[in-house]
């Protein structure tokens, strides 16, 4: 059984007991435990079930590479699935649930899949679920959805209770990894005076060295770590952060750090995670190495563990996963595990060394302890369901005919070590295959390149393939100095500390155990634990012609789980290479992509959630709208009232009331959001003639003109009323959503094409509040304000005619009044300084009482403009519509030689007479056409779909006319007046509508021109 040892456990505090639950069962651990070490201390060998076959799975690793021990953590608004038990620090009250089983962990229905394994081979998704076709929707898809994904998503109704933040950091040298290599690299870099950041993903510093032993400068590695850490902490130019993972390396020295601030004491008020957005001149990756599993049958039975992980559990947490342990290896390092177990009083029943000559000094040391070591031997099979029970032993060079079966309750395996090359590779660092050490390591001659064309990442220590303690420290020291020098800090001569460890004999590659294992063994030999990919799956993929490692990955799902193949990738591609008869470096690796290890969505979002997700723009009258029933809609980043809803009214009722009242009495629209661009300078007129399709240079001072803007492609991009303010100044109104975009558009042309033209553009949208005073009583209310003040501008039709503007005073307010109308009614749009906006709004409401004043919202605005047949950018246009489609040839100047879009309008398909053109649409029964509905034509197209000859662009219920009105683009529309078209709706009904003139109300324009 797995249990807590009486001794060992350098990271735990046995005086502090912590209570937690696993699947509701109460357990205890110690301060310093991870959830994994605490579960093992409680003999919880089985911690989850695998994805495809639902096989019992136990802890296999001790760090972030763990593929099996994934749990759902906590509950309610702090629930999070797929958390690794190995990287979860134990805290009081922790509640973990195992995943991927039903009804429970011990008894699971899905485990039947393991007996179906023969019929669930690689690519089974692609092969099995194709035929018969109807099965997809009713059988296969529901099955796949049911079994897809590990863990459960958090409740969508709950919001994450925690807070997160982003943090910006700039440094000369960033060192990733706080093992002895990272510490030494940081020390060497800092000695030169460079600003250094050192981050470590775990809570403790020093990495594996304190577990693996040896001496550094004559000290125990742990003591050297303490001393070096203290030295670094004393330096002003060094920043240290533990619990902070190097997540990704990106272009030009950008890197992300992921700090888990309070995962180990949740709810303490601090932000949970902090995303470090780092710019480093140089990055040192001292990210260590990860041990590989061995591929033998039953290598996934709970109790089979990486040898290094088992050593960690013994030394760091005082936990042994078994009482009778078999160690199996192809290298010397695993002997350290045998020694650690033996020293802790655990029986090592056998060491199986696949190498025929065995190992070196460490093997001798193990033998001297009386432990039986057998060379050239292998595991044929591990027997046991929910934990290891027996181990069958065979010759490595055979098919697996078992020669001996021994009792054991745990297996420590080592297939060699792979440098963690992820961060080196993220931004283009290349790898080379090291035949002697049997792994890929960074090729220092091909680093990721920075803006200056020089490398900006340096690998260090075992992450660079410098595997021995002494070799790793020397390599890291050199990397630290070189990084500082490359960052502009001449290197100080820093002596690398002397690391001494046992000499090791070379590893021998073992990709399958035993080497000629028969198929019954191979189909129980796991490569990817999390995604249930076996040796036979990769071999099948190779037989079926998958030669690219990237294709094999996707076909078999090898390395596609949440651990991204940290344990499985090298074994998998070695197996692929073997199956293809190719060399491993010729097969190559899959692409390493950030993040190194999954990071929380909360950290990525940072503070940007809720109200600060994006800034909301508010007009000076916003507070009044909020208090008076405004039903807001987003328009760009603005919030505009859709309608002002009174108690007892539906939104639809409110809209209809607003339409009728504005047509009959007096309506007020907060038009402050309309874009206002001042275009000024000696060449402003010439410039606006290029920007607009119609002529603006000949507009008289004091007058307004409606203008259209096209892109160089000829498509409509904006519209609005332009006013000539003085000889060299124009004010251009844009759509609400278009102000910044059109400002940018103008700047682009001014800066990059006509940079010698003397023109300035200023966006003054927010400097003014603007109110549209609309309706038969519009003039009366404004004249009343003047009368109350005793003076004011002349607002008569003669003094301020339609499509003109005047500066002056209305009542007590300095203003600019435009006689423009988007509703067809008598209308003044009045701009006042933004600071006066609310007072002006209030004054209009007060004075307007006797005239039946009501504010109206954007829907009323839309309906009134549609009644008048006015187009709306974004409704009648969608980026593919040209002015000619909207019958607006009148706005295309024939006098101008050039304007943006003019050349494009003469391209063949722009001049095509078959283009859909704007018409009015009126249902035969008065109902409202569905928005976006298409008009049916004759016949079918090449895909067998019915031909369409038009579509609805705007459709409303008109309270004025008490019927549905619409506009649409129809093929040859203007030539087909009176024709009735059919529009199928998504509700299954077909709507019939007649083509009519698009102006439904006051065709002569009598109402606005009074």
């Amino acid at each position: 059984m797995s249990t807590r040892l009486a001794s060992q456990g350098r990271l735990i505090d046995r005086s502090k007991t912590i209570e937690f639950t696993f699947n509701g069962k109460r357990m205890t651990g110690h301060a310093g435990d991870t959830l994994a070490s605490a579960l093992l201390a409680n003999d919880q060998m089985m911690v989850g079930r695998s994805f495809k076959y639902h096989r019992p799975r136990g802890v296999v690793a001790s760090g972030s590479e763990e593929p099996n021990a994934l749990v759902g953590l906590n509950s309610g608004d702090r629930f999070e699935p797929n958390q690794r038990a190995t990287t979860t620090e134990l805290f009081s009250g922790l509640a973990a649930q195992s995943q991927n089983h039903w009804p429970n962990l011990e008894f699971d229905i899905g485990a039947v899949n393991t007996y179906l394994a023969r019929w669930l081979p690689a690519g089974f998704y692609y092969k099995t679920f194709i035929h018969p076709k109807p099965f997809w929707k009713h059988v296969y898809e529901p099955f796949i959805r049911q079994s897809a994904g590990l863990g459960k998503a958090p409740d969508k109704e709950l919001k994450d209770a925690d807070t997160y933040e982003h943090f910006y950091f700039f440094c000369d040298v960033m060192v990733v990894g706080g093992g002895v290599a990272g510490l030494q690299a940081a020390k060497a870099a800092a000695a030169s005076g460079a600003k250094v950041l050192l981050i470590e993903q775990n809570a403790h510093w020093g990495g594996r060295a304190p577990v693996d032993g040896g001496t550094i400068d004559g000290m125990e590695p742990g003591a050297w770590v303490e001393k070096t850490l203290a030295e670094l902490q004393a330096m002003d130019n060094v920043t240290l952060r533990s619990r902070t993972m190097g997540s990704g390396v990106y272009d030009h020295g950008y890197a992300l750090g992921y700090e888990r601030i309070n995962d180990h004491e949740p709810g303490n008020g601090a932000p949970r995670h902090r995303l470090w957005r780092i710019r480093a001149k140089q990055i040192v990756t001292a990210t260590g190495a990860i041990e590989r599993p061995l591929s033998f049958a039953g290598n996934d039975v709970p109790g089979v563990m990486l040898a290094s992980a088992m050593r960690d559990y013994v030394v760091n947490w005082g936990v042994t996963p078994g009482q009778k342990v078999v160690v199996v290896t192809n290298n010397d390092d695993a002997y350290r595990t045998a020694l650690a177990l033996h020293d802790a009083g655990v029986e090592v029943v056998r060491v199986l060394d696949a190498r025929s000559a065995g190992g070196g000094a460490l093997m001798e040391e193990v033998r001297q302890k009386g432990i039986r070591v057998e060379c050239g031997r292998a595991i044929a099979k591990v027997k046991g369901g929910k934990r290891v029970q027996k181990v069958s032993i065979c010759a490595q060079n055979g098919v697996g005919g078992a020669q001996e079966e021994i009792s054991a309750d745990a297996v420590a395996m080592s297939g060699g070590w792979s440098p963690v090359v992820h961060l080196w590779s993220h931004c283009g660092g290349k790898l080379i295959w090291d035949d002697a050490q049997v792994h890929f390591r960074p090729d220092a001659s091909r680093p990721p390149l920075g803006a200056d064309g020089k490398g900006f990442v340096l690998p260090a220590g075992s992450a660079n393939g410098a595997m021995g303690l002494g070799e790793g420290l020397a390599d890291a020291s050199a990397a630290g100095s070189a990084a500082a020098e490359a960052a502009g800090f001449p290197a100080k001569n820093v002596a690398a500390p002397e690391g001494v460890a046992s000499d090791e004999l070379p590893i021998e590659p073992v990709w399958l155990m035993p080497a000629q294992a028969d198929v019954t063994l191979r189909m129980k030999s796991w490569l990817d634990y999390q995604n249930d990919v076996k040796v036979t799956d990769v071999q099948l993929a190779a037989r079926e012609g998958y030669e690219s490692v990237e294709h094999t990955k996707r076909y078999t799902t090898l390395g596609m789980a949440t651990d991204q193949g940290k344990l499985s990738n090298i074994n998998g591609l070695a197996m692929l290479a073997d199956s293809l008869g190719a060399a491993i470096p010729d097969v190559g690796t899959t692409t390493f992509r950030p993040p190194y290890h999954p990071i929380s969505m909360g950290a990525i979002g940072g503070e940007a959630r809720g109200k600060v997700f994006q800034p909301i723009r508010q007009t000076p009258m916003h507070a009044w709208h909020e208090r008076n029933g405004a039903d807001f809609e987003p328009v760009g980043q603005w919030r505009r009232p859709y309608a002002f809803v009174r108690s007892g009214e539906s939104v639809h009722d409110a809209v209809n009331r607003e339409v009728k009242n504005t047509r009959e009495n007096l309506g007020l629209l907060d038009a402050s959001t309309l874009g206002k661009l001042v275009v000024k300078g000696p060449d402003a007129g010439k410039f606006l003639d290029m920007m607009y399709t119609n002529m603006m240079s000949n507009l008289k001072v004091g007058k307004c003109r409606y203008g259209l803007m096209c892109s160089e492609n000829g498509f409509l991009i904006d519209d609005g009323v332009v006013a000539r303010i003085d000889e060299d100044t124009w004010l251009c109104h844009t759509t609400t959503g278009g102000a910044e975009r059109i400002h940018g558009h103008m700047e682009e042309w001014l800066q990059t094409e006509w940079w010698d033209w003397k023109v300035y553009v200023a966006n003054v949208t927010e400097q003014f509040a603007q109110v549209a005073v609309v309706g038969p009583n519009a003039r009366k209310v404004l004249e009343k304000l003047n009368a109350q003040a005793g003076s004011g501008m002349d607002l008569s039709a003669e003094a301020l005619p339609f499509m003109e503007w005047r500066d002056g005073k209305i009542g007590d307010f300095d203003c600019r009044a435009y006689r423009i109308s988007f509703s067809g009614e008598l209308s003044y749009e009045i701009a006042v300084p933004a600071s006066e906006g609310r007072a002006f709004w209030d004054a209009l409401l007060e004075a307007g009482k006797e005239f039946g004043v009501m504010p109206y919202g954007t829907e009323c605005l839309h309906i009134m403009r549609a009644e008048k047949g006015f187009i709306m950018i974004g409704d009648e246009t969608d980026g593919t519509v040209i002015p000619q489609d909207l019958n607006m040839q009148w706005a295309l100047s024939k006098k101008k030689e050039d304007f943006l879009g003019k050349r494009a309008h003469s391209r063949s398909h722009m001049a095509d007479p078959d283009r859909w053109k704007l018409v009015g649409l009126e249902t035969v029964d008065g109902s409202v056409l569905p928005d976006g509905a298409y008009a049916l034509g004759e016949g079918v197209n090449a895909n067998g779909q019915k031909n369409m000859i038009g579509r609805v662009t705007s459709t409303y219920y008109s309270a004025t006319l008490d019927k549905g009105i619409a506009m649409g683009l129809v093929k040859h529309g203007p030539d087909r007046m009176g024709e009735v078209l059919e529009f199928p709706g998504t509700d299954g009904k077909t709507y019939k509508a007649k083509i009519v003139d698009q102006v439904f109300y006051d065709k002569e324009g009598a109402k606005q021109n009074v």
Binding site: G744, E747, E748, A904, S906
Partner: protein, 109 residues
């Protein structure tokens, strides 16, 4: 996450401060141009693996457009310069030649 120096305000600007504006040194064709000329102006773009000239705007900074010469393969930046020129200045071409002898891009070399 590139860093480009804005030649107007001198800031080493992060990509989050910048807006990409596509290929540099396009010649505008308007009314009177042939269909082929206009088509090429609107749609035909270089897609090199290597030396490239681009337009960028320091959008969340000084607001100015500028040009950048860089390598699309290694992300090396050879230099940034004014948007108000119709071809790469000689010092930019020299800087590229020093790193990529024999380079060509459109009609430039």
């Amino acid at each position: 996450m590139l860093i480009l120096k804005c030649p107007y305000c001198g800031v080493d600007a992060e990509e989050t401060e910048l807006a990409a504006g596509g290929e540099a040194h396009l010649k505008r064709f308007g009314p009177g141009s042939s269909d082929d000329e206009f088509h090429d102006y609107l749609f035909m773009r270089e897609n090199p693996k290597g030396v490239h000239f681009e337009r960028w705007r320091h959008a969340n900074g000084c607001g100015k457009w500028f040009h950048a010469a860089r390598c699309t393969q290694t992300l090396e930046v050879f230099g940034t310069y004014s948007a108000q020129v119709t071809e790469p200045p000689q010092e930019i071409r020299d800087a590229i030649t020093a790193k990529r002898p024999g380079w060509t891009w459109r009609e430039f070399e």
